[in-house]
């Protein structure tokens, strides 16, 4: 009993249409079917956030969504934050500047949580940034440099708007 279902997703602007077993999570579909490996498996419980992607702009645990449920959606992963020329995007540059990745395994998910946190227009305090990140676990950095990065990206975005 392995029903197959065809799912079409626009992943980082690229449309991907694949037939796969219906019970695959979005995470497994992305990694094992579509070969998009930047979202990471960390727990399968929706706790660690390593598999965070944006589904039509909203942050989700891709391990807790069936790929079939997301049919037709736009998915953004960490590599979707890159500039068109392949260089690091603004948020990613901020992570680079503040040394926000050590082992880097949580980083793709953390970036998507950060992108979602910065989607609103209001300025976030350090404490508010921490509150937006609490669903994404990191075991290497102690979180400080990640908070620094988001503050930095936020300031740069504000500077741009001011110009």
């Amino acid at each position: 009993m392995t029903a197959t279902i065809t799912t079409t997703l626009t992943v980082n602007g690229r449309q991907i249409c694949k037939a796969a077993p219906a019970h695959l999570s979005l995470l497994r579909w992305l990694r094992d079917v579509a070969g998009v490996t930047d979202p990471k498996y960390g727990c399968g419980e929706g706790i660690c956030g390593s598999c965070t992607v944006l589904l039509d702009g909203e942050p989700v645990s891709s391990c807790l969504v069936l790929a079939a449920q997301a049919d037709g959606a736009a998915i953004t992963t960490a590599s979707g934050l890159l500039e068109p020329d392949g260089s690091l995007g603004r948020l990613q540059r901020a992570f680079h500047v503040t040394h926000a990745a050590q082992c880097g395994y949580c980083t793709p998910g953390m970036l998507m949580a950060a992108a979602a946190a910065l989607a609103g227009s209001q300025r976030l305090s350090r404490q508010e940034i921490r509150a937006r990140l609490h669903g994404n676990l990191c075991r290497c950095t102690g979180y400080g440099p990640i908070v620094d990065a988001i503050e930095l990206a936020q300031d740069e975005a504000a500077d741009d708007r001011g110009k």
């Binding site: 094992d32 727990c43 992963t77 040394h99 050590q102 395994y105 970036l111």
Partner: protein, 782 residues
């Protein structure tokens, strides 16, 4: 050409800050950009088009005899390729006591089966290996493997395990190891003491909980070599896999890509033997990924320890005696427990001078999940004990917590109770002052029903492996014809910037810009072996190997230029891309071509040998156990909610003397990360095992700290300029994880007047402290 340090006299190195160009610069690590782009391929990200998948069937009970095994139903599941039991493993034994590239030690020769055949000793022990075409077939087949168990008597408490008549976990008895220190006249010291303080402390088992669960891919390459690309801290496990499969070591290659964290949990083998077995048997590529739940269930944990301390001091605060008793839980198998307990014993008196010491330490087998290496490696649990004793002494003598520590702080030339003399500069008192100064005034409570406390804790932690393990690391450094540089060193990069630091060291010696250096790491076949990324040893070992090789290469190039120009080599300077001297200005690329013309090698292999010593015996007495130590002082501010017992961390300062910071960014990262992990152990984390059954095998039960649990961590880098690593660097990977639990307990004691003595310090335990302090809501209401 090969260079080595076998003639090096003391091993102590130094450097002058104003002579350094690249070292001490907070450069971005070269591995950052790829990781942030999401393109780094971790062990589980690697796939072959038609690979198989493998999974373990594990024991559901902690102590049992296996009475029957039947794979027929599992083999009938479509897509199943193999179901393997212990009998299918050519040599069904893993040596678990000393991993890595060790050639001779006074080893325990402790071992366990790759797949257990007869006896199960812990919940989660591997019994069968299933290989299938798809993960779905695997899921179905694993449920169909029939294993019948007959429950056997079990023991879960180390004290009970050591009592007469306890059920035997192993035929040899339940006492795994025992260490003793008898130094000076302890009884006389206690008899003459002005004050004696006594305490009992309990640490809990905790999990590494790196974000990347164990994973890897195995395949046979075109030369018939078994390749294992796995998340490991030890590529030298290729030897273990070869022995298990009964094939030459030269036929197995382990590749360690960038790891998603290790912390000691990927020091022992995880997926390696199973991947090796599956790929060797099926001759096809195989992937194995452990689930988070498997990782939490069955991989070795940090040792739970019961610490009992009696400490004697004089009126002016001088510690004159320590009487220490340690019991540790090894769980079901030995792994590295004996060494962990040795670390506990050597570190048990902390960074303090004490002339009279009696220590008894033992480690017992139980039917709990096994325990092994974890950042801090036995040297960190004891901090929770010895620092509590220092606070008790401070209280008893009316001294400040800083003062009692400074009066006893080790300085260069002091001897540890085990007998080793500290040969390098120690900035402990300075670290205490610096941390307190940075912390500033103690914050005020945020409102009614809240109290604030400040805690202090210091520690020492060795860096480098035990000196009788014949440790060595090799590295190859070579110029390309365009002046770019290749570094080859099989160091596994666990995420701490191990590879990047090597580039920075080579850049300093050879003045090659960082972006022209490539480090090839983590490959046991194509790179010189550098040993384990454990024991805070890579900067010391691989760092020195790269330093030696780079220095030799530099000498080669200058020698060639000297021969051609007639200017003596010591009159020549190597600057960025240019060799200069009196009347000499030659481009580096030209010098490289010159070397080729003159038959001078433009590459060098450096092998660094760690300091040597003789193996210890049960009664510990040694001139040297470890190469050297790193010292630190932490200050923690927190607020306690008197109604709920909740603890909010307000500020945290961690000061460590790192000798010389190769990359201050990476040093900051190591300190902040280790502190966060230590704070998790202080307040949140515990592997809860009830009657041998692990109740915390999920991330919703095993709580690691989130961004709202950890305050900004202020890492203060002190540089004595002296250590055994290149340029006088000391190791910093493990040391900062020691003090946090003690610093938190110290702060809570400061706030409430009663000290929590058991980890983790849950809100409930804090509430009991409040009640014990003679106030608080719990008492009022009852």
């Amino acid at each position: 050409m090969t260079v080595g340090n076998d003639q090096a006299p003391s091993g102590i190195r130094t450097s002058k800050p104003d002579e350094l160009h690249v070292v001490r610069q907070p450069l971005p690590r070269h591995d950052q950009a790829e990781k942030i782009a999401g393109s780094t391929r971790y062990a589980g990200d690697f796939a072959f088009a038609s690979m198989l998948h493998a999974r373990l069937v594990r024991s559901p009970m902690p102590s049992a005899r296996i009475t029957a095994r039947d794979a027929s139903a599992a083999l009938a599941v479509p897509g199943v390729v193999a179901v393997l039991f212990g009998e299918d493993v050519p040599h069904n034994l893993i040596w678990v006591d000393v991993p890595g590239q060790t050639v001779e030690v006074a080893a325990l020769k402790a071992s366990m089966e790759v797949l257990t055949t007869d006896r199960v000793r812990f919940h989660g022990e591997p019994v069968a290996l299933v290989v299938a075409e798809t993960e779905d077939a695997l899921a179905q087949a694993c449920e169909q493997v029939v294993v019948d168990y007959e429950e056997l008597p079990a023991v879960f408490e180390p004290d009970q395990a050591l009592a007469a008549g306890a059920p035997r976990v192993h035929e040899t008895g339940n006492l795994l190891s025992e260490w003793v220190i008898d130094r000076g006249d302890v009884d006389a010291a206690f008899a003459s003491a002005d004050v004696v303080v006594e305490g009992s402390y309990q640490t809990q088992p905790v999990d590494h909980a790196y974000l990347e669960p164990e994973a890897g891919v195995g395949w046979l390459d075109d030369e018939g070599v078994l390749n294992l690309r796995v998340a490991t801290q030890v590529v030298e496990h290729y030897r273990d896999v070869a022995r298990i499969l009964g094939i030459p070591e030269a036929r197995v290659r382990v590749i360690a890509p960038y790891l998603g964290g290790g912390f000691g949990g990927k020091e022992d083998m995880t997926v390696e033997p199973y991947l090796g077995l599956a790929a060797w048997r099926t001759k096809r590529p195989v992937r194995m990924q452990w689930t988070r739940q498997e990782s939490l269930l069955a991989r070795p944990k940090r040792h739970r320890m019961q610490l009992r301390y009696r400490t004697a001091a004089t009126r002016n605060g001088q510690v004159i005696g320590q009487d220490i008793d340690i019991t540790a839980d090894s769980g079901a198998y030995a792994y590295l427990s004996a060494l962990v307990l040795l670390y506990s014993s050597v570190h048990a008196c902390g960074p303090y001078r004490v002339g009279n010491v009696r220590l008894r330490a033992r480690c017992a087998y139980t039917n709990n999940p096994p325990t092994s290496a974890f950042r801090g490696f036995g040297g960190m649990q004891v901090v929770f004990g010895y620092e509590a004793q220092m606070d008790l002494l401070a209280g008893a003598l009316g001294l400040s917590r800083a003062e009692i520590r400074k009066r006893n702080a080790i300085v260069r030339g002091d001897r540890l109770p085990v007998g080793q003399v500290i040969e390098t500069e120690v900035l402990l008192a300075q670290a205490i002052d610096a941390a307190l100064e940075r912390a500033g005034d103690k914050p005020l409570p945020s409102g009614e029903g809240k109290v604030v406390g400040r805690g202090v804790a210091c520690n020492l932690q060795s860096y480098g492996r035990c000196v009788w393990l014949n440790d060595s690391a090799a590295a190859w450094v070579g110029f390309q014809l365009d002046g770019s540089l290749s570094v080859r060193c099989a160091v596994p990069d666990v995420g701490g910037g191990q590879a990047s630091s090597l580039a920075q060291i080579a850049a300093e010696v050879l003045r090659v810009p960082m972006d022209l250096i490539t480090v090839h790491f983590g490959d046991s076949a194509l790179n010189p072996l550098a040993g384990t990324t454990t024991a805070t040893r890579q900067l010391l070992m691989s760092g020195n190997a790269v330093y030696e090789a780079s220095s030799a290469l530099r000498a080669n190039v200058l020698r060639a230029v000297a021969r051609t120009t007639g200017v003596p080599a010591d009159g020549l300077a190597l600057d960025e891309g240019l060799i200069t001297g009196p009347g000499v200005a030659m481009a580096l690329t030209e010098a490289i071509v010159l070397c080729r013309r003159l038959n001078v090698p433009i590459e060098a292999l450096g092998t660094f040998f760690g300091p040597k010593g003789t193996p210890v015996v049960k009664n510990l007495q040694a001139d040297r156990v470890f190469p050297d130590f790193t010292f630190g002082a932490h200050v923690c501010d927190l607020e306690v909610d008197l109604d709920t017992g909740g603890v909010e961390l307000l500020a945290y300062v961690a000061a460590h003397d790192v000798g010389r910071a190769i990359n201050p960014r990476s040093v900051h990262g190591q300190i902040a990360g280790a502190v966060a992990q230590g704070l998790g152990m202080a307040l949140l984390e515990e592997v809860v095992v009830e009657e041998g059954v692990n109740l915390t095998a999920g991330f919703f039960q095993y709580l690691i700290p989130t961004a709202t649990d950890i305050p900004d961590i202020d890492a203060l880098i002190l540089e004595s300029g002296e250590g055994m690593g290149p340029f006088g660097a000391r190791g910093i990977g493990e040391p900062p994880i020691g003090p946090p639990p003690a610093a938190v307990a110290s702060a809570i004691e400061d706030a409430l007047g009663v000290r929590p003595t058991r980890l983790p310090i849950t809100p409930e335990r804090v509430l009991h402290c409040i009640a014990a302090a003679g106030g608080g809501p719990l008492q009022e209401q009852r």
